[in-house]
Amino acid sequence: MNGGRLVVVGNGMVGQRFVEALRARDTEQRWQVTVLGEERRPAYDRVRLSAYFDGVSAEELNLHTPDDGVELRLGEAVTGLDRDRRVVTTAHGEYPYDALVLATGSYPFVPPVPGTDLPGVFVYRTLDDLAAIRAHAAGRRTGAVVGGGLLGLEAANALRLLGLATHVVEFAPRLMPVQVDTAGGAMLRRYVEELGVTTHLGVATTALRPGPDGTVRALELGDGTAVEADVVVVAAGIRPRDELARAAGLDLGPRGGVLVDAGCRTADERIWAVGECAAVDGVCHGLVAPGYAMAEVVADRLLGGAATFPGADTATKLKLLGVDVASFGDAHGTTEGCLDVTFTDPATRTYAKLVLSDDARTLLGGVLVGDATAYPTLRASVGGPLPGPPLALLAPADAGGGAGAAALPGTAQVCSCNAVTKDDVDAAIAGGCADVPALKACTRAGTSCGSCVPMLKQLLDAAGVRQSTALCEHFDASRQELFDIVRVRGIRTFSQLIAEHGRGRGCDICKPVVASILASLGSGYVLDGEQASLQDTNDHFLANLQRDGTYSVVPRIPGGEVSPEKLIVIGEVARDFNLYTKITGGQRIDLFGARVEQLPLIWRRLVDAGFESGHAYGKALRTVKSCVGDTWCRYGVQDSVGLAVALELRYRGLRAPHKLKSAVSGCARECAEARSKDFGVIATETGWNLYVGGNGGFRPRHAELFATDLSTQELISLVDRFLMYYVRTADRLQRTSAWIEAMDGGLDHLRAVLVEDSLGLCAELEAAMARHVGSYSDEWRDTLDDPERLRRFTSFVNAPDVPDPSISFEVVRGQPVPVRGGPPPTTAGPGTAGAGEPAAVGGRRQPVTLGMPEVRR
């Protein structure tokens, strides 16, 4: 059975992953796939469900990508399974199958307590559930969660974010009873109560009572007390959805779930189960990673493979209500004769416990609350020798996480998301990977949750790979260090800097970097004095060098908004100077083919018409693109053009380690493509959502949500901080995405620094930006005002009236373009490589003429 009709029941996280895994392997399209999903929307990221309350839209949680070879039928629950006839039934009809995969997930368990059917009582599983909770919570004041486990605490945080006074009722004597022990639970409780959430532990909920309007009003507890609650969420555990299998007579696991073998197949050879509904060898798994592993197993098996379920890592690390909690291995010390080492620090409010074998040599498991830095190393050490003395491992922060990645056995999993062992990482290092990005690309370690990135660094260190941060042969310092040296020491010139902190004469790497640093620190006009010699040709001529030695000119058009008069001036200039004209992706106009001596003449006319430099030539802010926003658009909710113009004017001229782009969209339809920008803004009903770290280009990246529902003022302060921090600390040519990726702690760290001000830098960053804004002056206007500065715009120092004879144009589609085949040869005679004939031979140029209509003029 290696092909035919394949029916998948359920389009949740695992069902979706299964279909993708199968389609990736089934290159010959042997399986014809139909997916039947009960929910009305395609698969989404249930793990991040709560982000919905942080302003993340349902679209952003989407996991589904359309596939021609897969028929997806949503809102169509399977109600029957006939194994003899090999069909499943829905309200719309029957679907025959040759193979059937059940991926039906779980349902929330609701304890048999009177009143759970009242309006105002919810479960916490689907986007629809969350939307209903939000709708019901509007205008209400109190909330309660039944269940103090992982999910319950997540729901409690949601109620808190909705502005409700929140209670949590847990039957066990501590919070998160499955993951943490008594002392860890006590520490957790302190954190949770400090956030204003009231906990009721060791007590059962006996009934839910309605108010006069018939909706829920209060919880009755086993100790006789009552808790007022207008919104109740029941989070008392989950149960596998095994009803189809049960009705069809398939075996179930001892605690429910579709019983399958290690190949994820039921006793019926045509039926398989994956994800939370499956009981592999009798055991159900309530996390997504084991589900994904099952999806891969079945995809492999359906194409003739023999993969088996590798077993599940039940280790969990999460941030709940701002508290790091991790548990791994035998967290409760149930192994015969095991020993505990615990560490409690009321001052830093951390709790940690390690469970060791009876000879205190082997790590069996542990619990961390408040500080989970040591988690990656510890989790990877389970079952092996301790990578260091227990207390050193547990001591918080700097000491803890650091200890001993190198001491791990080779088979220890460094990255459990992608099943990468220490041996794999070491082999990659031996094979030449010299930094974390290279390791990520080569092994996939660190590319999912990222919690092992610090370990990757340690392993590089341990292997003796010095990750040189030297800028070039002239400076041993990195860009960031040079920035600090220049700033703190008040250095104003390149010669002083290289004399005191470098060697040699500099080069095309360090000179532009220093020029950019000096510009960021407010050293005035970028082409005065010695600074002129540091600039790349683009900055030197304030224009963009093109392949034939001519330049292009890009006036700033903030937000893409331009008056007809100004547009006409651009057209006239282009016509009068015979410039090739093209609209750019950044909503402005690029004029090509200007010779150096023409640049001041062109800019005189542009400046007189009110244009400014667009800094298209600089490692600087380029454009802030916008959609038309609520001024005209039927869907717009904010003034995206107004904000884009304001942002572009605020940050124009800002020099940075790499070019910077931005965009503002006036609604969630995102017509300005803000998520592909270094910083993008998307309007919401009540403000702005800020995204950071996106880019197009060679390695496209989507920006990630950084902060939500900001007022315009809040947005500007955050962007000020973000940009200045980037300018100060990024490496040369490091884009914002790579900069964030390279940080220990990534986006969370960035948020701590820029939102919570964890380094106490925010005021300084804002002040630095204020100085930039206050001292901005248009470089082209400054150039035109000064004959000294204009001197460099000559073709030949001894023949300023002779235009460069090598530049010539032909006409293509009615516009001038460089003549192909290179400029005419020099008269310099024979014998030198490269006279006339370019030395490097690239690929062949493809003429675009075939089948193209002749354009008549």
Partner: protein, 115 residues
Amino acid sequence: MTTASVLDWTTVCPLDRLESDRGVAALVDGVQVALFRTADGLFALDNQDPVSGAYVLSRGIVGSRNGVPTVASPLHKQVYDLRTGDCLDLPGVSVSRHEVRCRDGLVEVRLRQEE
């Protein structure tokens, strides 16, 4: 070093027209020459970038590599030895060099055609 033909010195411009650590282009007998003024002295190379064919070397960034004075092509950043014209990044590639001197505050160039 053999020199096939030696042309005359041509006066190009006053020395103070050359910014230090930067280049300019000059037109000498129809040949485009890139002139550089550095702390190590004056240098003259052909202005044509042999890799791209464009006449842009005079607009590159001047510096040093292992003590050798250099200019980097502004198009694709290959680095050339200002003294010899040899490309330090691409073996076998070079640009012609010319002679340059300063007399009475004036920069003079003599084209060189090597065999």
